[in-house]
Amino acid sequence: MTSDPAPAIRVHNLSKTFRKGFQTTRALDEVSLEIVSGEMVALIGASGSGKSTLMRHISGLMLADKAGDGMIEVLGYPVQEGGRMARGVRLVRGRVGVIFQQFNLVDRLSLMTNVVLGVLGRIPAWRGWFGLFTRDEKLRALEALRRVGIDQYASQRASTLSGGQQQRAAIARALVQGAEVILADEPIASLDPESARRVMENLARINREDGITVVVSLHQVDFATRYCPRTVALRDGQVVYDGPSEALTHEFLRELYGAAGEELILPGPIGGPAPKARSAAHLRPASA
């Protein structure tokens, strides 16, 4: 954690109710959260616990309930308040990089073009309309691709790359964007273990080297304890734990989530050279 205590993200009393017919689901229940600039925080929880919903609210892609005083501030700028999008939200979005579970690259555009689009929020709009990106901006895109290790595919269409490579390209796009905060919403949920490890390592590296605040929602706690010093755990839209990731032993998780906790635990070690190696003793018990 840095010595600078400025809050990068401030969520206060945020609630979100989904209505479908006569059924209402409380996806977020008065969530309050503060994340300091330069932190790398994991957001964990079982499916349906509200991780993605919270992420989408912070990135200004979804509006909270109108009732109540729920509000979100990112880098000191309001994103939404009382269920209304703030005026300058597009400028805030430009400073926040979002990484999605499904990568959200444009398949038919080259990797290079996908990544250079990160500058759209910072350049005059008309330059973007006509695709007039400067040499400098293109070089920056290439540089970002090199940092995540896929610059050799720059001219290929995004659709020709593997999921892990596409996700790293999405990280490169956030780098080109000059994002000060990166919100990664289940970035490794649809990747194989090796690609997942690489994506997490890239996120950890840009957090370490560039001081970018990273919030990453994860399905499996093992990745949280390995890469993120701090974890926020959600259950049924409420924060049930907020503290050092090391405290999240498997026993504690079972206590927090009961039987649902099982899905948060990886059946095996993450693999690769591990900073905090886990032994096979954490294998899931035979019957849950």
Binding site: S59, L61, R90, L91, V92, R93, G94, R95, V96, G97, V98, F100, Q102, F103, N104, L105, V106, D107, R108, L109, T113, L117, G118, V119, L120, G121, R122, A125, G128, W129, G131, A170, R173, Q177
Partner: protein, 274 residues
């Protein structure tokens, strides 16, 4: 659980299979549907004065009439080809102008891009452009801008814009919203979202639709000449009106040949883009 088979032990655990019961209500509805369909056919038969017997009774007349077409008379082929080229030129410009207009009109008719108070009026406008046949538009434009191919271009342009905008917007409504969200999250504006998130996804379909419309515009362009909007249709109409059936046959052969060749070219192009 009933034992229905004692040859295998695995089958013993299976409950007896039962066919779903026949639903009386559904069969009745089905039957009623057929009755309505037949009634519509009978009703339309009356109105269109269908008379298959005439085909047999007047077959001698028809044979004589048809014989007038043979052999086709190509004596005036330079004029015919010249006018055929004009028809192709009309189809090209009618289609190009329509494609250019259909891009904004198609986007503005898409539910997932603009609010209802934009797409509803836009869609109704496109409905109107589509509802009126290009033949009718041609007659109106001949009055407005005078006889000649330009009236034909205008007619094709309006009608095709109506058609293509609808097809374009249907393609846009079927896109994957995720990449668009990815673009939005970088702080891009709405136009950026369309240019980089939407258009790359729909482009192959749009190209295919446009080429297909060029094919049908070429066919339409041969007809709109009849109302004075230039091209081969005008020549065709002159010959038919003057009872020059051998020449009419020649023009028809030229039209068939041209349309076939251009259809084939456009088909090859379309396959390359999808």
């Amino acid at each position: 659980m009933t034992v229905i088979d004692n040859t295998g032990s695995a089958a013993q655990a299976m409950p007896q299979l039962q066919l779903p019961e026949r639903d009386l209500k559904r069969s009745l509805v089905n039957l009623a549907g057929w009755a309505v369909a037949l009634a519509v056919l009978a009703w339309a038969w009356e109105g269109s004065e269908m008379n298959p017997l005439a085909l047999v009774q007047d077959s001698a007349n028809m044979a004589e009439f048809a014989s007038g077409f043979f052999p086709p008379n190509f004596h005036e082929w330079p004029t015919m080809l010249q006018e055929m080229l004009v028809t192709i030129q009309v189809a090209i410009w009618g289609t190009v102008l329509a494609v250019v207009c259909s891009i904004p009109c198609g986007i503005l008719s898409s539910k997932n891009i603009v609010p209802w108070w934009v797409y509803q009026p836009m869609r109704r406008l496109m409905d109107a452009a589509r509802a009126i046949n290009e033949f009718v538009f041609a007659m109106l434009f001949v009055v407005a801008v005078g006889l000649g191919p330009f009236a034909g271009v205008l007619a094709l342009w309006i009608h095709t814009t109506g058609v293509l905008a609808k097809l374009f917007s249907e393609a846009v409504e079927a896109i994957d919203p995720n990449p668009v969200e990815g673009i939005r999250a970088t702080g891009a504006d709405g136009i950026h979202e369309v240019i980089y998130g939407v258009i790359p996804q729909v482009l192959p379909l749009w190209i295919s639709f446009s080429l297909y419309r060029f094919e049908s515009n070429l066919r339409s362009a041969t007809v709109i000449g009849i109302v004075g909007a230039g091209g081969i249709g005008m020549v065709l109409w002159e010959f038919i009106r003057g009872f020059y059936y051998a020449e009419t046959a020649a023009v028809m052969i030229i039209i068939i040949g041209t349309v076939t060749v251009l259809d084939m070219i456009s088909q090859v192009l379309r396959e390359r883009f999808t």
